[in-house]
């Protein structure tokens, strides 16, 4: 009598679950894209001008950082499949470092704006006009939510790195590594759309 028939590991089930979760994240940010679309439509000039105040350099740098970190975590899966534990750990470490670099850039970027009193609820922002209020409101909310997801992703990858180190995630069983990669790629995908919508509409 087999009372534990479903205990055997099923990677496809695990991966399917992760993809479905990614769909919910897409819809979560999708709601914000709805808000962006409406307010951009209603305030085209204000958005255009406000976008000019953002640093295209930092934005581009962050984009390249995130794209590279996506590549490194994708390569870590290859390394795992090729049974190269050292390279897997190295690549995961680089991914985490790049993620942290992204957050550091964000910190300086936001700091710059906040020093000029451009933040949600500030009277300086309110005085600049409704289009600016909406642009920066969306800027802080969307990049803020995105940054939160970077943090979550880094924690997730951090755990997986430890698991790889202690061989809990290994060449026979690495679906968790793949899933953490999928999550990280999603965070990258969201930024791929955020970048032009906030930095390149000048």
């Amino acid at each position: 009598m087999n009372t534990h028939a479903y205990i055997h590991r099923d990677d496809l089930t695990s991966k399917t679950g992760m993809w479905l979760f990614l769909f919910t994240e897409m819809l979560l940010f999708g709601g914000l894209f709805v808000v962006y679309s409406v307010y951009r439509f209603r305030n085209p000039l204000a958005f255009h001008m406000a976008a000019g105040e953002l640093s295209v350099f930092i934005g581009t740098l962050n984009t390249v950082i995130l794209l590279t970190s996506s590549a490194t975590i994708a390569m870590s899966v290859t390394a795992m499949q090729k049974q190269n534990k050292k390279l897997t750990l190295l690549l995961l470490g680089i991914t985490i470092l790049l993620g942290v670099a992204f957050l550091v850039n964000k910190y300086f970027e936001w700091g710059g704006h906040i020093r000029e009193h451009i933040y949600p609820g500030s009277s300086v922002l309110a005085l600049r006009g409704q289009g600016d209020v909406l642009f920066y409101g969306l800027y802080y909310f969307m990049t803020g939510l995105h940054a939160l997801h970077i943090v979550i992703g880094l924690v997730f990858i951090g755990f997986i790195t430890v698991f790889v180190f202690i061989n809990k995630v290994n060449t026979e069983n690495f679906v968790l590594l793949e899933n953490s990669g999928l999550y990280w790629h999603l965070v990258d995908l969201i930024w791929i759309f955020l970048f032009p919508l906030f930095y390149l509409i000048t």
Binding site: Y6, T13, T24, G30, G31
Partner: protein
Amino acid sequence: MSPEKNAAEHNYLNYKGKYKGIFSWIFSTDHKRIGLLYLFSILSFFIIGATLGLLMKFELIAPGSTIMDAQSYNAFFTLHGIIMIFAVVIPGLPAVFGNFLLPIMIGAKDVAFPKINLLSWYLYVTGVTLVLLSQFAGQGPPDTGWTFYAPYSFRTTNTMLPAVFGAFVLGFSSILTGLNFLVTIHRMRAPGMTWLKMPLFPWSLYATGWVQLLATPIIGITLLMIVGERTLHIGFFDPTLGGDPILYQHLFWTYSHPAVYIMILPAMGAISEIISTFSHKTIFGYRFMIASLLAIAFVGYFIWGHHMFTSGMSGTALYTFSLLTFLVAIPSAIKVFNWISTMHKGSIDLQTPFYWAMAFIFVFMIGGFSGLILGSLAANVHLHNTHFVVAHFHFIVFGGTGFAFFGAAHYWFPKITGRMYDTKWANIGLVLFFLGFITLYGPMFYLGFKGMPRRYFDYDEVFHAGNIISTMGSWVLYSGLAIILINLFSALRGGKKAVSDPWGGKTLEWTIPSPPPVENFVETPFITRGPYDYK
């Protein structure tokens, strides 16, 4: 000792696992126990919500203040709505009967992610706790209505954040349940059970799962935006900062309309099971039933604007939403025709679940027709925000999901508990419940048509008679509910022991003992026949 008797004595209820006592329940990852944890929670909150409703109706028995003032009434209908919508009917059938029956009906031993299943329940409890806390924290209970409309929801000085955040957490619970069921149905069907051999209740949970997964995040982000408005003044919905309150409504209803399909699709699935079993006949038009479930789920995404016809949308939006709204009635009607056709020339066994199913069809149709009336732009101008709307959604949600919930409870009670209930008292309860229901909500169509607004604690003397009738209906309904629940609870102890298949059903749950063993199936079944193989 017969094998069946021996099997029924080792079941999921008396199973001795790692934990003892209450911990064997609240730490259990067994889908059957989790289903019962949900049943306990949902039933408790339903009773709280129903009591709130009873008190609201008592306030409305006469014009002017009867037992409460205007502000209290606002708080009452807000909490009544939040509890009934987010804590009762949305989790409702999927969380209780989906959890218990889905794996069994597809021949699996559990859902795809049992631990996440338990997490869903923890999130549920956390969410409702936060909502209840909002009643007692700080500045007075929330008074915005369950719809949290901007700008009032971020301007009111009453406590809002715990309620808003509670709803957010409840949404997350719903998402995880949907995710779990989708993966379970995709990956864990028994060998031989192709998609077109799966019964309609699992199919309904599949369609519902997509709505839970893809619609709920929208309310998640919208509620977060309300939090942002209240705390950071981001200005998305604040007209003084350039925001548009109607955008809030768009976002809110983009979830909350599909949400009503989360409520009704599993109900329709359960009704299909009941009607097939008690007609001793296969469901008429099985494939069309599946297509209708999926069509309702699909079209349901694109019709949210019918909640906003009088809010100030463009003419183009008005026509688009009204037209698409009428479309969704078509698959719903197909289902009603197919239920009736199933009964036609069937060998009808008049049992309590079947009476519930017939009552369901009756009230669902009334609710549905009134929805078509509301979906007509011209009529909507007159009827929006009147009691006509209140009647509509109570007929279709309480009548639909609620009646199906009680029908499912009476149908699967023997399987879940291993006991039979007293049929006479069950039917008495049902009759009282049904009569009370019609008396409570029927007059509201007329009152609304004559112009009585909703969410008002006071009204013009001309509406007085209708309100007296309606309030008395609430007393009859509540008594019926009491009889139903007391009857089922006393059956838990004193009911006759149930066999595997007391009703003559053909789906997989009726092939295993009542109550089921922990692992559901001693041997994984191999499916060779369709789900309703009556010959």
